[in-house]
């Protein structure tokens, strides 16, 4: 028969469980206060800014806030309704109000994101809207025949809701067709899908070259006696500590057509003076310089993993009759995998978002997707920049997830 255990209490008679809970809660609170500064820092400088930026990719009220009447007409009439006199009357009234509020430029800019040539359309019509008389359709078309363009109406319908997928469509080379469906943009305008693919391919190439170059170096560093390996380590770290801009511009000096590398080759008679190699301001330049700049991010994780591999394993394999190739393939290489994985992931993710180096040495065909994010920030189309950035972030997260499934994130070793 089970005995009911006497209730455990503390010295002052409180139940032990409650006292323990209270003490733990206090400790938890204290721990929470300790991380509070970091939490506040992360929220203020990371979560909020990035969140508001990403919000812009689907939230733009430039048109919806300034054209309430047209918005109401769109709500009352389904897609594919031919704009009637009521629609034009609502539009003219909105335009007149915009002129009073000085907002036709803002509304026009929003429509211009998907249908080029509409900022001046809005401004011009808004200037005359107050003087227009019914029938408004004729009055507006007399101002500019482009108002009858069904694409303008499709764009306005989409923009009359502040939440939109327009920017994601532009970022994937899509546009709205006359019937409200989607279609690919004109071939001459397609760019973003190509750039996404190219960014990932180039990053892959750079990661692979980094790995090829870093592996022997890291191995050498890990196996040399400490005094020598420290000296070599400084050679790896010095460029790592040098300003990125300095390193990039040094490469320009080295690789440009009148630069050191070409001059040496011409002097040695390897290439003709009028046949100099073009190694910078193109894709080749981007690959060379980014490989150099990202190399330490591959060497350091590799080195830290190789350092921990006891040399006796390889010796044991050799003594058991393994050739040097078998020993490397079956004993050494598998043990370095966590380092390879960490280095590759680090270099690849850094390369995918790299901006300054391609901007400086990429010329025409060596630009990556991040250069276009910057381009649209400059051109104050922040929403499109945010949409491209969100897609890039999504793609990287998917890769990270795949990586976790295939290799396992817990096998990662940075040192």
């Amino acid at each position: 028969m089970a005995e009911i255990a006497p209730l455990l209490t503390t010295a002052d008679g409180r139940p032990l469980k409650a006292a323990l809970g209270a003490a733990q809660a206090r400790a938890k609170r204290r721990a929470f206060f300790l991380v509070l500064p970091l939490l506040a820092f992360v929220i203020l400088t990371f979560v909020i800014p990035i969140g508001t930026m990403l919000k812009r990719s689907f939230d733009h009220d430039g048109f919806s806030a300034n054209a309430p009447l047209v918005g109401a007409w769109f709500d009352a009439n389904p897609q594919s309704t031919e704009p009637d006199e009521a629609a034009y009357a609502a539009l003219v009234a909105d335009l007149a109000q915009m002129q009073k509020d000085k907002t036709p430029g803002i509304a026009g800019t929003r429509i211009n994101y998907t249908v080029p040539g509409t900022i001046s359309l809005f401004k011009g019509a808004a200037r005359n809207a107050a003087k227009m008389e019914p029938p408004f359709k004729e009055a507006l078309l007399a101002d500019d025949a482009k108002w009858s363009d069904p694409l303008v109406w499709v764009a306005m319908r989409e923009a009359s809701n502040r939440y939109t997928t327009d920017f994601y469509m532009v970022a994937t080379d899509l546009k709205r067709s006359v019937d409200g469906g989607t279609e690919r943009v004109d071939e001459k305008q397609r760019i973003y899908r190509y750039l996404f693919v190219k960014t990932f391919i180039l990053s892959g190439i750079i990661t692979f070259i980094c790995l090829l170059l870093a592996f022997p170096v890291a191995h050498l560093l890990a196996t040399l006696p400490m005094a020598k390996s420290n000296l070599l380590m400084i050679l790896v770290l010095l460029p790592f500590w040098t300003s990125l801009l300095v390193r990039t511009t040094s490469w320009i000096v080295l690789l440009q057509e009148q630069g050191v590398a070409n001059n040496v080759m011409v002097a040695m008679g390897l290439i003709g003076d009028d046949n100099r190699w073009r190694m910078i301001y193109n894709q080749t330049g981007t690959i060379i310089v980014m490989t150099h700049i990202l190399l330490p991010f591959m060497i350091l994780p590799l080195y830290s993993v190789m350092r921990t591999i006891p040399p006796s394993y390889a010796r044991a394999a050799r003594s058991l009759g393994g050739t040097s190739w078998t020993t490397f393939r079956r004993i050494y290489l598998p043990q370095t995998l966590p380092g390879i994985a960490a280095g590759s992931l680090l270099v690849f993710i850094l390369a995918v978002g790299y901006y300054i180096t391609p901007a400086l040495v990429g010329g025409a065909d060596g630009q990556l997707i991040s250069n276009f994010i910057d381009f649209h920030m400059d051109k104050s189309n922040w929403s499109l920049a945010a949409a491209i950035a969100a897609l890039l972030l999504g793609a990287v997260l998917i890769l990270y997830w795949l990586y976790d499934r295939l290799i396992g994130i817990d096998r990662l070793k940075f040192g």
Binding site: D101, K102, T103, P104, G105, I106, N112, Y113, P116, G117, T118, I119, S120, K123, K188, Q189, R190, I191, Y194, L195, K198, Q256, E257, Q258, Y281, A359, G363, A364, D365, Q367, F372, F375, K379, N381
Partner: protein
């Protein structure tokens, strides 16, 4: 630092509210120097009103932020054309009545004295800067003379430098293809015109080195990386005259733009600011500025008064985008066109660049 400067300026402005003064925000460097010498000092000497100069990488976003926050500490700002229009459209600027500006030295009313398009509802142009093309005289002693020569690889072999962007390049391509300057924008509105411009660019694409920052083209020329390059005229002038580089400028087919003064809505010393803008954009002040930088005055009546560079021997007039001889085949950049087409044409330009 900048914020402290602005803050202290604001505090000063509050504490000495009785005594008006004008705070001018501009781009810094040699350009601000030219404004201080030609506008600020003479204005203070003439009116007793002190002028405080504040630098910014680009005054337009600063003005926007100040007006939105309702804490305007700047009385006058120097902005680009597109920004002047946009800020004005958004109701962030005080309108400036063009008729209230002083007449030219020869008595021409301001509205006629300023170059076409130089006056807008809220902004008054000060200078004209231009995208031109320049070449290395040691490579081409005979020298190219027309915009068509820039696209002529047979006659003038060698690499070309061009700005990475659609603006100015498409216009120059059409002019080189024989389109008169007056018809360029009408043609670029049409798909055929755009195709024609890109086809012309195609003819030299393989030889082009693309630049982005204004400081790059003189460097590319000096390094021998390109034989010719498009550039902002002031940069080539600086390299050629101040540094003695063998560069020559070809003005045929130049595309010029304005820089403008605006008064933010809610400027603390609005009246003094308006006086300053009137003074600074007068015939003499604009002419004086050319002593310090080779950007052309936005008034026709200033051109004859342009004198020597501050080295005391270089005649400035021939280096101005607005000199009569340089305007024979020149195109004023169209704000209206680019504000509508910028996104579309740059997207096409980028796609064109990325394809091989």
């Amino acid at each position: 630092m900048k914020r402290i400067l602005i803050l202290s300026t604001a505090l000063t402005a509050v504490s000495f509210a009785a005594q008006a003064e004008v705070t001018v925000m501009s781009w810094g460097g040699g350009y601000t120097t030219s404004q201080v010498e030609a506008y600020h000092k003479p204005f203070t000497a003439a009116t007793g009103t002190p002028v405080i100069s504040v630098d910014s990488d680009n005054p337009a976003p600063a003005v926007k932020a100040m007006v939105e926050a309702g804490n305007v500490t700047v009385d006058v700002a120097d902005v680009e054309y597109a920004d002047a229009i946009r800020l004005c459209d958004d109701g962030m600027l005080e309108p400036i009545d063009a008729a209230s500006l002083p007449a030219g030295a020869d008595g021409t009313p301001a509205v006629d004295d300023f170059l076409p398009g130089a006056l807008t509802e809220c902004a008054v142009s000060t200078i004209v800067f231009s995208t031109v093309f320049a070449y290395d005289t040691t490579k081409f002693p005979e020298g190219p003379t027309a915009i068509a020569d820039f696209f002529d690889l047979a006659k003038f072999p060698g690499k070309r430098g061009m700005r990475k962007g659609a603006k100015a390049n498409l216009e120059m391509a059409l002019m080189a293809d024989g389109v008169p300057a007056a018809e360029v924008y009408a043609m670029l509105e049409t798909p055929e015109g755009q195709d024609r411009a890109f086809a012309k660019l195609d003819t030299i694409k393989s030889e082009v080195v693309w630049w982005e920052a204004g400081a790059q083209p003189p460097q590319l020329l000096a390094d021998g990386e390109v034989a010719m390059t498009t550039a902002y005229n002031g940069r080539i002038f600086g390299a050629a005259v101040s540094e003695g580089k063998p560069f020559a400028t070809v003005w045929d087919g130049q595309v010029y733009e304005y820089d403008l003064f605006v008064i933010p809505k809610g400027a603390p010393n609005k009246d003094a600011a308006l006086e300053f803008v009137k003074f600074a954009t007068s015939t003499q002040a604009l002419a004086d500025q050319a002593k310090w930088i080779s950007y052309g005055p936005a008034r026709k009546s200033s051109a004859p008064l342009v004198g020597l560079f501050n080295d005391g021997k270089t005649e400035m007039a021939p280096y101005m985008p607005t000199a009569a001889a340089n305007l024979t085949n020149a195109l004023p950049s169209s704000y209206e066109f680019w504000v509508d087409r910028d996104a579309e044409l740059n997207e096409r330009f980028n796609a064109w660049l990325a394809s091989n």
